[in-house]
Symmetry: C2
Subunit: 195 residues, 2 copies
């Protein structure tokens, strides 16, 4: 089950519960570019699985259609590298469902890590989380928010909240950029780069 | 002119000359998500300017329309943070034109750095380029390819080619993810993160 480097790490892209710009709690729509970019990052950094989390039936059907096209359909012949990355995508209706799936396959509760652009009291630093990830016997699920971010409730019910990326007084990266940077900071030293 | 940290660095998103999947040289279409994600990264990391490089009139008009909407139009009221990042976007028809614009405003030739997913003989490492960027009196333009990447000719006519990001035998990040990771590796230590 734990077949290689990076394989104790899972990422989840959360579409509910999410804040909108007025801080109302909503379910956001799935963005095609998110699925592709995060799957490609996940594959690059040896992430074990990428959960798209949405309770909306229409959005689940959309994600299934995207995956099918690239993993089984004509897309898989057009671009085999895309097949490889999109094979990592799984769909769950809730964060609990994703966590439960990981925990039961490992026989061990997955550690939940929330992320966000703002400061959170007691947040964990990149270096500390990076060290914890080296314990290959414990599964981790890092949650990324869409829209205006994960709700306070999700952060408080997670085991850890990761420190924000920061940014010269401007904290408005896309979730696609944030995932790329966070995975590189946590797992970049596992890459075969000559750096 | 050199008004602050990061201000000697420019990024360029190249749409011509670019390889397509058959390694033919083409002009690629502009992707709306690229403009937004790269502009937001540029603003986050204190990049001085973001050049969208395309010779195609239709694509220039498209980029102008996107910028206008977010910098002057209703988008600027809807989302002022987006206005701030998209204000960094400039349009040039060629790499030479972008380089010339930077060089003439600095009275000093800009150093061109090409990027790519594959190994290039004599490429410069992230740490070495990061150190060079600290020379705030010299402007740098880092070029990112769309499609299947920058042509060999562009790489050879650049001053440096940056080492690839690497990735467990899989090198198929989106340009959006690659830009985020590269800027973080080069400039991440300038951020006000508590890390």
């Amino acid at each position: 089950m734990n077949a290689g480097v990076g394989s104790n790490l899972y990422i989840g892209l959360v579409h509910y519960p999410i804040y909108d710009r007025r801080r109302d709690v909503v379910a956001t729509a799935v963005t095609n570019f998110d699925i592709h970019d995060l799957a490609r990052c996940a594959r690059t950094f040896g992430v074990e699985g990428f959960y798209v989390i949405t309770p909306l039936e229409s959005q689940i059907l959309l994600v299934q259609r995207i995956i099918r096209h690239w993993v089984e359909g004509t897309g898989s012949i057009y671009n085999p590298a895309r097949k490889e990355s999109l094979s990592l995508v799984k769909i769950c209706r809730t964060i609990d469902e994703a966590e439960g799936e990981i925990s039961s396959s490992w026989g061990k509760k997955a550690i939940l890590v929330a992320t966000g652009a703002s400061n959170h009291p007691g947040s964990i630093q990149f270096s500390a989380l990076g060290k914890m990830l080296k314990d290959q016997n414990t599964p981790f699920l890092i949650l990324f928010g869409t829209g205006w971010g994960l709700t306070q409730e999700v952060k408080e019910s997670s085991d850890y909240v990761l420190a924000p990326i920061g940014g010269m007084g401007y904290n408005h990266l896309s979730v696609r950029s944030a995932v790329a940077i966070i995975l590189d900071r946590l797992l970049g030293d596992r890459l075969s780069s000559s750096e």
